[in-house]
């Protein structure tokens, strides 16, 4: 787990709980960890085709989903993943909960901690919220998106989808197009793709590409034609809700779409297209592209379920992070 500067003075903190494993950032994972999770996800994906899809692995364990931001995919996927593993699931949304009455994240975490959940999945608009929850509870914490920082399970499911479709990640060229500045998905995906040996190019208008991001090890292009070289084109959503009021990142959505929208004409046949959802059809992605056979967008959602099952199972059953992937022997 990455070190964080304490948000509260140390003497006010409760005694530190024993070290637990969390999934907060892709940066905390090694390549072995990622490979182990992907192998595990493949096993779980096979159970999704069965008549009886439920596995008794996490029977009697509790998983709490704590969502301070709206979400369809991630929250439904975590909820179903936990249910498929027979865990008891509680989903708490900020709207309609005590958060509306002004409860702080710390107090909500302490309250939920009283139920001894094994896992807390949290999405929050502020960076570092998962670390805070990890400090105040005994649960394993899974980051389901914190501000512009990280969304590690999205990156894992993207890797899984690419491997499932193309067989490997190593050596592939992935272009990530659009609003990189406000995107936690982009940050997690760049780290994950580079970790697995892919080449990554960020493409977008200069105001939406953070300056100096090349330091992560990716390339940057301000020309939309750069996506033609890529094996996979990863389209990001224009995050209107994160843009500061009055800031002019792009002159207008219509102009953005004309210059940076991913349209059939800008793609080469055979290029795979991905999008973390929800899509703004006609803005960053053309409807024709989104519905084409080369679009993996629904596959991503399906992968998300298997990957999140793998993450929950791995956090609760595995030893310390960094244990080698065990050899899988297939008997002929």
């Amino acid at each position: 787990m990455a070190d964080v500067t304490p948000l509260v003075r140390d003497e006010l903190l409760p005694p530190k709980p024993p070290e637990r494993r969390h999934l907060i950032s892709i940066a905390d994972l090694s390549r072995d960890d990622v490979e182990r999770l992907l192998t595990l996800a493949e096993t779980f994906a096979k159970t999704l085709d069965r008549d009886v899809k439920k596995l008794p692995v996490l029977k009697g364990r509790t998983v709490v989903n704590l969502f301070y931001e709206s979400s369809t995919r991630t929250s439904s996927s975590f909820e179903l993943a936990a249910k498929r593993l027979s865990a008891d699931v509680m989903s708490i949304k900020a709207a309609g909960s005590a958060v509306d009455k002004g409860e702080s994240l710390k107090d909500t975490a302490l309250t939920i901690g009283c139920y001894d959940p094994e896992v807390i999945v949290i999405r929050h608009p502020e960076i570092g919220a998962p670390n805070l929850v990890a400090r105040f509870t005994d649960a394993h914490v899974v980051n389901a998106g914190d501000g512009k920082h990280q969304h590690p399970t999205q990156a894992l499911l993207d890797l899984y989808t690419i491997v499932d479709e193309l067989g490997h990640v190593e050596g592939l060229h992935v272009a990530i197009v659009g609003d990189v500045l406000h995107s936690r998905v982009a940050r997690s995906d760049v780290q994950a793709l580079l970790l697995m040996g892919a080449r990554v190019t960020l493409v977008g208008p200069p105001p939406l590409i953070p300056r100096g991001i090349e330091a992560m090890g990716c390339e940057v292009s301000y020309e939309i034609d750069a996506i033609r070289d890529a094996d996979v084109v990863y389209v990001l959503r224009m995050q209107k809700e994160r843009m500061l009021a009055g800031a002019n990142y792009v002159p207008s959505l219509r102009e953005y779409s004309a210059r940076w929208g991913v349209t059939p004409e800008r793609l080469r046949p055979g290029q795979k297209v991905m999008h973390p959802g929800p899509m703004n059809r006609g803005v960053e992605i053309d409807g024709v592209v989104a519905d084409a056979a080369d679009a993996l967008i629904e596959r991503q959602v399906r992968s998300g379920l298997a990957v999140r099952m793998a993450v929950l199972y791995d956090l609760l059953t595995h030893g310390p992070v960094g244990v080698k992937v065990a050899e899988i022997q297939e008997v002929a």
Partner: protein, 201 residues
């Protein structure tokens, strides 16, 4: 598989193990009039090559090749070490492929495993099996029954009954996995892990 300790005792050599498997195959043929409706399901790891051998043998005697499946019971175990961080040395079990490509409904499923001990593996296997369908009956074939059952489970086809002390280990080695065919008795490695006084020797 690492080489057995020097003190390991060979209980069955390759020939004896071969004869044992042969006899189990004969018994399965005798016990099931309708071999078309029999499926052999090997439990990972060593149950899988055993089931393959049994199928080959049954095909030789009876001219019928029963359906073959493999079962991984990891997700059905009752001793999964949940919250691994408290015992960091406990390795996560390796999850292998479960493959049951035939409808189970109405079949006689013969579960195949190498050593029958507490019965917990078999309990998990039965539970896993029923998530795939509803077999007409489930039978159990194992090469060695070493006793110490903790559940009311009884094998239908047994290669050898080998009463053991609780601390001892029976190791069935198969060419497909271990490069040699043998059944070994590996004595308790830890002297504090005393022999179960109730065991009949």
């Amino acid at each position: 598989m690492q080489a057995p300790a020097q003190t390991a005792k060979v209980l069955l050599d390759a020939d004896a193990l071969g004869r044992t498997i042969l006899r189990i195959a004969h018994e399965i043929v005798e016990g099931n009039a309708d071999l078309e409706r029999v499926a052999l399901v090997g439990i990972h790891t060593r149950g899988v090559p055993l089931a393959q051998r049994l199928r080959r043998l049954i095909d030789e005697f009876a001219g019928v090749e029963p359906a073959l499946g493999t079962l991984d019971i990891t997700f059905y175990r009752d001793d999964l070490h949940v919250r691994g961080c408290e015992a960091p040395l406990h390795p996560q079990p390796v999850v292998r492929a479960t493959s049951l490509d035939f409808p189970l409904d109405g079949m006689t499923v013969v579960l195949v495993d190498d050593v029958l001990h507490t019965g917990r593996t078999i309990r998990a296997a039965i539970e896993a099996l029923f998530d795939f369908g509803r077999p007409a009956r489930v039978q159990l074939a194992c090469v060695v029954d070493r006793g110490h059952r903790e559940l009311p489970i009884r094998p239908d086809y047994v290669g050898k009954n080998l009463p053991t002390a609780r601390g001892e280990r029976i190791q069935v080695q198969l060419v497909e996995v271990d490069e040699v065919d043998a059944v070994l008795l590996v004595p308790t490695p830890d002297p504090t892990d005393e022999t179960d006084p109730e065991t009949e020797r």
